[in-house]
């Protein structure tokens, strides 16, 4: 700007010669950042070395790229910029070898650490040629480890942080190897002590196994470039993408967003939907494979998939003529779908490998009980074929929405989801509910989204999972603040109602009247649009057709005709004549805490809005802080000694109005109940509230078994299933209907399956017992209160089997 800057020579650096400078490429939630923070602590606190760390990552819940920059050295470090000349580069995800220039700035003689699922020679062959050349030219020390295998065998599932941390200490030379190992041991004991001895032992086992499995790659012993086959041409996966995706989203995804001019961005801030499909993150180690012969076509795998990567279609058999090789199908089993061919397909490149689908699958091979109708298999061998199958699948016709029986999960799940491939954690308990809403109402849905996980995975620039169907209809979505989201959504409702009202007035004005000999619009159409019954799918489809006819007529009005101005205005507003569905979406931090005042106000207003609370019982997005939805006895941030207060009963509070539809659901406990509640809530012509139990990584559970945890919460009475429908009063029935079937399982035992409850019994066993007793009493009392309110005779918890 001033033209006074001095030129900087490209080779000018001020890095200290005695520094270790390490850059780590990881995947969000693979433990890279956490492991590096532990490393910094060890070196900073336990040695005389100085240490510095900076972490670059976006707000995706998991699966996004993280880059850690760590410096160590004997002298103070004053370097407020990223590492440009690393002495060590660690790549914690094999796929990154294709995506990033790992050797950028790496000094000759530096170290490269690779997490590879392949043996040494295969790894070498699979590297891009440029990487191999760079290694050879700079004479790098290269180390390989199959971290996922080591972690899995140590019982740590996908958690490779301890393994990769040990590798770093082993190859970086920042500390003598033996000292480093001892320090890691101490650190693991400290970090995991409160989670119990078993977790500590598991980590220590992983540490030992790491040192046995870390291997040097001696490139001098491996094939030279001339002995390797030339690389296959890489298809441009964005070739068919819309212009905006190619010109704006792609550069942002490739970390080149800073180079975009302001003019490339939409001037009003709106952003194209359906864009997450272009990311193709390929982050799953294993993906589900469908066994068409075993499948009972229940739709459960499709329903629970948090990322909408498993989908089903039922098509006329002739539609499958020309299906690609290996494309599986089976005759549809549902009598309603008689004569159709049924298929389930997996978007292997979008899958996160969470395995919820496998856990929820009820169908097993009788001869080989471990084999289900859906099973996990390594992703890489399936990737190429899977991509082709998926693309073919997308081209198959959808069934007409009006033809589906939505109370049967198998049919309901044939609805196209309009929420796909979000950045939520693998196994997320929230997103299946959003996907369900998008299937049921997505083509006429407006979503006001509170800040929280759902606003991050829902609209994480540059992409959004909210998408559209073939007609271009899909949810309109916007994120407001934590503290005003309900009001924000109410504004959407008021605006639509106002537009509809205005459209109706214009309609009447342009329709027949005694004083108009030749009205612009025929009487029958005006009446049909005004009085059109839109209470179900068929009615909405019919109304859409009427509105199309209306638009056709309005388009034909000559500009100089009498009423032309009103016709033009009605053309603008005509879409408001089709029923819209307004949703207020957020987590418990929003609904129970920060946005509660507004939510209460909006639900009290009587307006037709639907609030969906994705209740993880904790502030998930910010790292697990206690909310008023956190149950008694759970450990959370700000409740290190277990929460001493009860969980707030938001449902009961809102039921007290008598005018709000309230449902409490848990998909993992009863999926058809969840669907019923969504349908009832949406159809209720007033405010509705759905409390949706959402398992979460913050609960300290195996996420693959999230749906079972939901069931445990219901079976132990901790989470009630119920529906409160004010319409029942008009029929002389109790508005409250309890759908839980009593306590089938002791509460304490169910709580012990989640680490958030269990960990307190290690650190403060006496307090843990006292809190658990209180929790038990509360569950019994709540059950009694709900029974009293429902006025239905049903067993009290004490009569139920313990």
């Amino acid at each position: 700007m001033t033209h006074r800057s001095l030129p900087v020579a490209a080779d000018f650096h001020v890095d200290g010669p005695d520094q270790v400078r390490a850059v780590f490429y990881g995947l969000g939630s693979d433990g890279t950042v956490g492991g590096n923070k532990a490393t910094i602590k060890i070196i900073g606190e336990q040695t005389d070395l100085f240490a510095q760390a900076y972490f670059v990552y976006d707000s995706k819940k998991s699966g996004s790229v993280t880059v850690s920059h760590l410096r160590f050295g004997p002298r103070p470090i004053h370097a407020p910029y990223l590492i440009e000349r690393p002495t060590l580069v660690a790549c914690h995800q094999w796929d990154f070898v294709d995506r990033f220039d790992l050797l950028a700035g790496l000094d000759a003689g530096g170290v490269l650490l690779l997490n590879s699922p392949f043996p040494i020679e295969e790894s070498w062959r699979r590297m891009p040629a440029a990487l191999r050349c760079g290694i050879r030219e700079r004479g790098l020390s290269v180390w390989l480890i199959n971290a996922y295998r080591v972690a899995r065998e140590a019982g740590m599932g996908q958690h490779i942080n301890t393994v990769m941390q040990a590798c770093f200490f082993a190859v970086s030379g920042v500390l003598p190897r033996q000292e480093a190992i001892e320090q890691i041991r101490a650190s693991l004991r400290k970090t995991y002590g409160r989670k119990g001895e078993a977790v500590v032992a598991m980590n220590l086992r992983a540490l030992d196994a790491t040192l046995d499995n870390l291997q040097p790659l001696d490139w001098r012993q491996l094939p030279a470039e001339d002995d390797l086959p030339p690389p296959a041409p890489v298809a441009d996966r964005l070739a068919e993408a819309p212009l905006f995706v190619r010109e704006v989203i792609a550069p942002l995804l490739e970390r080149r967003g800073d180079a975009l001019p302001v003019s490339a961005l939409p001037c009003d801030g709106t952003w194209p939907t359906g864009t997450a499909q272009w990311e193709k993150r390929n982050i799953a180690d294993t993906v589900p494979v469908w066994e068409s012969d075993l499948c009972v076509q229940c739709g459960k795998c499709v329903m629970v998939c948090p990322h909408a990567v498993i989908r089903a279609k039922a098509v006329a058999p002739e539609a499958l003529v020309g299906a690609p090789e290996g494309f599986r199908q089976a005759p549809a089993r549902d009598p309603d779908l008689k004569g159709r061919s049924f298929t389930i397909q997996v978007a292997v490149e979008d899958c996160t490998g969470c395995a919820l689908c496998v856990e929820v699958c009820p169908a097993r091979d009788r001869t080989e009980p471990k084999r289900k109708a859906i099973n996990m298999a390594p992703q890489r061998p399936l990737r190429e074929a899977g991509r082709g199958h998926w693309d073919y699948f997308l081209g198959l016709p959808e069934m007409a929405r009006g033809d589906l029986n939505l109370h049967k999960i198998g049919q309901q799940q044939l609805q196209q989801p309009l929420f796909e491939f979000s950045g939520a954690c693998g196994g997320c308990g929230e997103t299946p509910y959003l996907k369900l809403a998008s299937q049921l109402f997505g083509d006429r849905m407006l979503v006001a989204n509170a800040t929280g996980c759902s606003s991050i995975y829902g609209g994480n620039l540059p992409t959004t999972p909210w998408s559209t169907n073939a007609e271009g209809r899909g949810p309109a979505w916007s994120n407001s603040l934590f503290e005003d989201n309900a009001e924000f959504g109410l504004g959407m409702r008021v605006a639509i109602d106002q537009q509809r009202q205005m459209a109706l007035e214009l309609l009447e004005r342009l329709g027949p009247a005694p004083e108009r000999a030749d009205p612009l619009l025929p009487a029958a159409l005006v009446a049909a649009i005004r009085d059109g019954d839109q209470h179900d799918e068929a009615g909405i489809v019919a109304q859409r057709q009427r509105v199309e006819e209306l638009k056709r007529l309005l388009h034909a009005v000559a500009p100089e005709a009498p009423g032309a101005a009103a016709a033009a205005r009605l053309l603008d507003l005509a879409d408001a004549l089709v029923k819209k569905s307004v949703w207020l979406v957020g987590g418990d931090g929003w609904a129970y805490d920060i946005g509660f005042g507004g939510l209460d106000h909006v639900l009290a207003s009587g307006r037709d809005v639907n609030a969906l609370v994705l209740d993880t019982e904790v502030y998930s997005n910010t790292g697990g802080q206690m909310s008023k939805a956190t149950p008694r006895a759970a450990v959370a941030k700000y409740a290190a000694g277990g929460k001493a207060a009860p969980k707030k009963d938001l449902g009961l509070m809102m039921m007290s109005y008598g005018t709000v539809y309230v449902a409490s659901v848990a998909m993992g406990a009863r999926d058809e109940h969840t669907v019923r509640a969504f349908l009832e809530a949406e159809s209720y012509p007033g405010p509705s509230l759905i409390l949706a139990y959402s398992h979460c990584i913050a609960h300290g559970i195996d996420m693959a078994r999230g749906m079972e945890q939901q069931k445990a919460a219901v079976d132990s009475g901790r989470w009630l299933l119920y529906r409160y429908d004010p319409r029942r009063t008009e029929r002389g029935e109790h508005p409250l209907q309890i759908d839980s079937r009593g306590q089938k399982r002791p509460l304490a035992e169910a709580m012990a399956t989640e680490n958030r409850f269990r960990m307190l019994s290690f650190s403060q066993p006496e307090r843990a017992r006292a809190l658990a007793r209180q929790a038990e009493l509360e569950v019994a009392r709540r059950w009694a209160i709900y029974q009293a309110l429902a006025g239905t005779p049903a067993p009290s918890p004490s009569e139920a089997p313990a």
Copy 2:
């Protein structure tokens, strides 16, 4: 500032010669401002004249001075400043003749309109000499009307607005008299039409009577100055006031606040309490007079007095030796007070004349049933003696707090109120609850006050009704925002708890220990303070004595002694060792709406705070807007067609936690129940919520009968009395106890006694009936729910007498 301003001649004015410029002195809520607004509308809308108005008043709920500035003329008015040269001055309150220079700027030949309760000659004699001289010198036209008598006789009670408006038109000449009268008639029909035909007729009657009663005062016919007695010397009522009152508050009260230097104001914003007592507003036309022979000494009149102007004491007879003449007393009737003399006194200069005390008095003269033990009588004749009696009364000793049985209203009401002479409306339904709290806990109370009526009458600069007892102890009070008051009060609680914790640690540090041969504090005192039982008055008194002893010992520590620094710190913190009582106070606008999110959060926190909701079922302070506490079918601003949604059940919502003490009270229905709830709430060592039904001018009722309206709300089932005490669970009892005794009175009939419900039946009778039916159903349903929750067998509303 620039030294460039031109000098302005004192006689320079730009007022148009053809303008009518009128200045009106009124009392808040006497209708002056409203009447003038109607006048402006009439002239501005119905004539060719231009009009301008500006109103000067403070935020006192009623009883403060209002000054209206009105200009009218044939040409556009550009005068963005107050009227300095009026052509007409109207004084709507007789007492102002002594307080203000009414003739300031009034042109020779101008008009003076006086509302006087006296005949012409007496009025003339009672005027200050300066006023008489001014009238004579300037040759003014003077008009008199006894507006209060005219209004009363027309059935309008204290409402003089119509009367004074007619007078203005009659004497100002701004319109031809007959035209003006017709315009007023039309205006009255328009304004009061929706309140029913009876109200319109009443106003038209008042209009006619006004013209018959308006009299010219011809000073030429009246005694000259020499024929009048010299004026009596005026006592300086502030002579005994503290310096701050004399130097800061008095100028502010006299409307000379702009002349105060910044340095006169407290630098940290704290403001002395107990200052409302210096206002002596003398705004009551009539005040209560106690009949000692008829009185049963029940204390009800003292309890309901919104302004703490009726008080009782029971003293040793010898204390009354030397009582001034006419000072009434009687032997105490309560056996617990045997041998004492009982007296009730009235602060006639602070009374607003609301007559709640008379309405609530249960004792009647058998021979003359209209005569009660307390009756209203004109204030003026009582003023002088009353002042002396009151001053004498204040000097009588208070009974020891520990000696009173607080469950007997007669004894409880002997407690000194520390909330006196607020600027609330006459007959206010809120302030008796605050006064009660100040009696019970005022000497150790901290109040966080939400914005609303209670923040206006609670801390309306330059005075506050919150005051202190003889020991200087009284509530600490502060006002925060509408939206954060609960959190603000929680901060007070956290701060006190922290101070107490610190004080206890210092106490232990300065007490005996094995390594300290000669501790600064004796073991017995340390233990007694640490373990002191403060659950009742006696315990608190004892703890205060121990803390005094502690302070004495700490004061005696030599500055160089070991531990002197800790001793000094403990001296600062020692008062935190005595139990404090934190109160979150506000109206329904705060608790149900704008501050609800925070209130819910604070009550869920488990901290020991007491929330008092003064529920007027409407935003009273801002003029009657609907809140979520507004009951179904009531008319309010934003609910012109009657509220279509139900009243929010805040109590039930908070009961759902199971950890919050919740009480719903209505003093006018059961006063001893109210006291019990306050005592229980305060003693509960966790969060408490008291919902206090407060009648309000916004209800459209005769305020003198406010307590009966409270009873009607309870008897009709619209307001439930209950107490939910989590402590009862520990004793194996139901925490919820319903204290209402079923529905004793049909809901519709009770609602019809309040204009907020009734007015809809005039404007939209069909809708009014439908809403009333819904309200009835809701009351029945709510009763059933509460019965179910309480688990107690009790008659349902349908079984109760209708």
